[in-house]
C-alpha cells in the first residue's frame, strides 16, 4: 500500500510552502501560457522568456494543490537557464517518471527506462505515480510548458 509519505515528500512540501520562481513576467515580450485542470479547478500560468535558444527566465502564477504547485516550482527550478534542447530532455525525463499509466503527457510519446539519480530534486515527484488521480496535478504545469514551447516560432 502506498502511504502519504510517498506522495508528500519533504522536498515537495518545501516547494509548496516556498515556491520558486513565483510571479509574473511582462507579456509581451514574455510568452504567457495558461493551464487548467477542469476537474479540480486548478489553474496555472507559466511565463517564459526565451532568448537565443535558451529559456532565460520562467515565472509561475496560479493556484492549485501541493502537488501541482510544487511540481510547477520544481519544474521552474529545473528548466530555468537551460537551452531549449536541455529543457526538452528534462521534460521527457519527467514524462517517463509519470508514465506508469499511459498518456500522462499529451504528446503520447513512449517512455524509456529512467535514471532517478540523474533527476535531482525532480525525483521527489516519483511517488505521485502511486496515486494515479494526482498525476494530472503533477503534469499540469509541464503540459502548460510544453504548450508554450510549441508556440515559440522555430
Amino acid at each position: 500500500m502506498s502511504n502519504l509519505e510517498d506522495l508528500y515528500r519533504e522536498i515537495i512540501l518545501d516547494h509548496y510552502r516556498s515556491p520558486r520562481n513565483r510571479g509574473e513576467l511582462e507579456s509581451p515580450p514574455a510568452l504567457r501560457v495558461e493551464g487548467f485542470n477542469p476537474l479540480c479547478g486548478d489553474e496555472i500560468v507559466v511565463y517564459l522568456d526565451v532568448t537565443n535558444g535558451t529559456l532565460s527566465n520562467i515565472k509561475i502564477a496560479g493556484t492549485g494543490c501541493s502537488i501541482s504547485q510544487s511540481s510547477a516550482s520544481l519544474m521552474s527550478a529545473a528548466v530555468k537557464g537551460k537551452t531549449l534542447e536541455e529543457v526538452h530532455k528534462i521534460i521527457s525525463r519527467f514524462k517517463q517518471l509519470m508514465t506508469i499509466t499511459e498518456g500522462t503527457l499529451e504528446d503520447g510519446s513512449e517512455p524509456e527506462p529512467i535514471d532517478l539519480a540523474s533527476m535531482g530534486e525532480l525525483a521527489a515527484l516519483a511517488g505521485v505515480v502511486k496515486f494515479p488521480v494526482r498525476i494530472k496535478c503533477a503534469t499540469l504545469s509541464w503540459n502548460t510548458l510544453v504548450q508554450g514551447l510549441d508556440e515559440i516560432p522555430a
Binding site: L4, L7, L13, G41, I67, R134
Partner: protein, 411 residues
C-alpha cells in the same frame, strides 16, 4: 426518532463493511452519491434474474411483469413526493441533469421568448444553470441570479424585483455545497403571485428531508435515484399534470409517438411522450426499493438524525480547529442539511481529501459543479463532507482525526 437506528441502516449497506487503507471506510460523500442498501441491489438482481424484458407492447408474462415493475416505480415515486397524479406527472430521465435539460428544451423552448426572464440563484448546481444558458444562447431571454448572503443564505432582499415579469423561478431546495435549505414553499407562493412557475432542484434534499410537492405547491421537481440510496442511471422529473400535458416532446424515438410516416410524426400523449427508447427498467425496480427503504426509515427520522449529526460535527470542528478550518455554510442547523464544506487554512482541498483517504475517510474536493458559488466566495474548491442515513458520530470522530493530520502535515 422512535424506531430509527443508524446502526441498522449501516448493517444494510454492504459497502460499509469495506476497509480502506487498513481502516473501516468512513463514507462522507453521500452528497455526491449515496450508498445502496442490500434491498436495492437485490431488487435489481431479482429483476434481471426473473422478469427482465422490454416494457410496453409485450403480451407475454415477463414483459407484463417488467412493465408493471416500471410503471410501479412511477406510483412509488409519486407517493414518495406526494404527487397527486403519478401516472401523468412522473417522467423518468437518466438523472437530475437530464430532467433540467428536458424542462428547458420542452417547457422552456415552448414558453420562453426574448422578452422573458428566468430566475436562478448563485448557489445552483450546474445542472440548473447550463441548460438555461444553452437555451438562452438560442432564444435570448434574461437569466437573473439571486445572490447568496455572506452568511450563506439566499439573498432575498430584492426577490420581488427579481420575480417581476419572470416566467420561472428555478432553485435548489438544498445547496450541495453550503447545505443551506431554501424556503421553497414561501418562495413558490411569492413566485406564483408574481406569475412565475417554480422548478425545484431537489437532488440534494430528496434523501435527507421529506418531499411534498403538493404542500410546497411547486410546478416541477427534479432529482436522481443515486442520491437517495437508489441506482445510477435513473432520475425523475415531476411536472404538474396540466403543465406536462402541454409540453412538447424532447428526445424523439420509439415509445414517444402516436404515429410516424415518411413525412413526419405525431407525439404520444402523457408521460410516454417524454420517454423515448428503452427506459431504465432495472433502475426503476431499484428506485422503487430505495423509496420503500427510505419510507420505512421515515424521512422525518432521517432528517432528525442527520440534523443531530451535523450540529455535533459543526460544533466539534469549530471547537477543535478554531480559525484553522472555516465551514463554508451556515453555522447552525436551522434550515441546513448535512453537507459540510471545509476550507482548511493553507491546505488545498485536494490535499485534504488525499490525507483523509489515508484514514479511509471519503470526502469530495472540488467546485462541486457550483462554480458561480465558488466565485462568489472567492474559492477554487472546498473539501466537502456529507452525511447519509447510515452516518454516525464515529464517522465524525474519524473525520476529525484525519483533519488533524492534514493540518499537521501542511502546517
Amino acid at each position: 426518532m422512535t424506531s430509527f437506528d443508524a446502526r441498522r441502516v449501516r448493517a444494510d449497506v454492504p459497502l460499509l463493511r469495506r476497509k480502506i487503507n487498513g481502516r473501516p471506510i468512513t463514507y462522507l460523500d453521500s452528497g455526491s452519491s449515496a450508498l445502496t442498501p442490500r434491498s436495492v441491489i437485490e431488487a435489481m438482481s431479482r429483476y434481471y434474474e426473473l422478469r427482465h424484458a422490454n416494457v410496453h407492447r409485450g403480451v407475454y408474462v415477463t414483459a407484463e411483469e417488467a412493465t408493471a415493475t416500471y410503471e410501479g416505480a412511477r406510483e412509488a415515486v409519486g407517493r414518495f413526493i406526494n404527487a397527486p397524479h403519478p401516472n401523468d406527472e412522473i417522467v423518468f430521465t437518466k438523472n437530475t441533469t437530464e430532467a433540467f435539460n428536458l424542462l428547458a428544451r420542452s417547457w422552456g423552448a415552448k414558453n420562453l421568448t426574448k422578452s422573458d426572464a428566468v430566475v436562478l440563484s448563485v448557489m445552483e448546481h450546474h445542472a440548473n444553470i447550463v441548460p438555461w444558458f444553452q437555451l438562452r444562447d438560442e432564444i435570448g431571454f434574461e437569466i437573473r441570479f439571486l445572490d447568496v448572503t455572506d452568511d450563506f443564505r439566499l439573498d432575498l432582499s430584492n426577490i420581488d424585483e427579481a420575480l417581476r415579469g419572470a416566467k420561472l423561478l428555478s432553485l435548489s431546495s438544498m445547496s450541495n455545497v453550503l447545505g443551506t435549505i431554501n424556503p421553497i414553499k414561501e418562495l413558490a407562493a411569492k413566485a406564483h403571485q408574481a406569475g412565475a412557475l417554480v422548478a425545484v432542484d431537489a437532488a440534494q434534499s430528496v434523501a435527507h428531508t421529506p418531499s411534498d410537492v403538493t404542500d410546497l405547491d411547486v410546478d416541477f421537481f427534479c432529482f436522481s435515484a443515486h442520491k437517495m440510496l437508489g441506482p445510477t442511471g435513473i432520475g425523475v422529473l415531476y411536472a404538474r399534470r396540466e403543465l406536462l400535458a402541454d409540453m412538447p416532446p424532447f428526445l424523439g424515438g420509439g415509445g414517444m409517438i402516436a404515429d410516424v410516416s415518411t413525412r413526419g410524426f405525431t407525439p404520444a400523449k402523457g408521460v410516454a411522450r417524454f420517454e423515448a427508447g428503452t427506459p431504465p427498467i432495472a433502475e426503476a425496480a431499484g428506485l422503487t426499493a430505495a423509496v420503500r427503504y427510505l419510507e420505512q426509515l421515515g424521512m422525518a427520522n432521517v432528517e432528525n438524525h442527520e440534523r443531530e449529526l451535523t450540529a455535533d460535527a459543526l460544533q466539534r470542528i469549530e471547537s477543535h480547529f478554531g480559525d484553522q478550518i472555516r465551514v463554508i455554510g451556515p453555522h447552525n442547523v436551522d434550515r441546513r442539511g448535512g453537507v459540510i464544506s471545509l476550507d482548511v487554512e493553507g491546505v488545498h482541498p485536494h490535499d485534504v481529501a488525499q490525507v483523509l483517504d489515508q484514514f479511509g475517510v471519503c470526502v469530495r474536493p472540488g467546485h462541486h459543479c457550483a462554480k458561480p458559488l465558488m466565485k462568489r466566495f472567492n474559492l477554487a474548491a472546498t473539501a466537502r463532507a456529507s452525511f447519509g442515513p447510515y452516518s454516525m458520530t464515529q464517522d465524525t470522530d474519524t473525520l476529525l482525526e484525519a483533519l488533524q493530520r492534514a493540518v499537521e502535515l501542511f502546517g
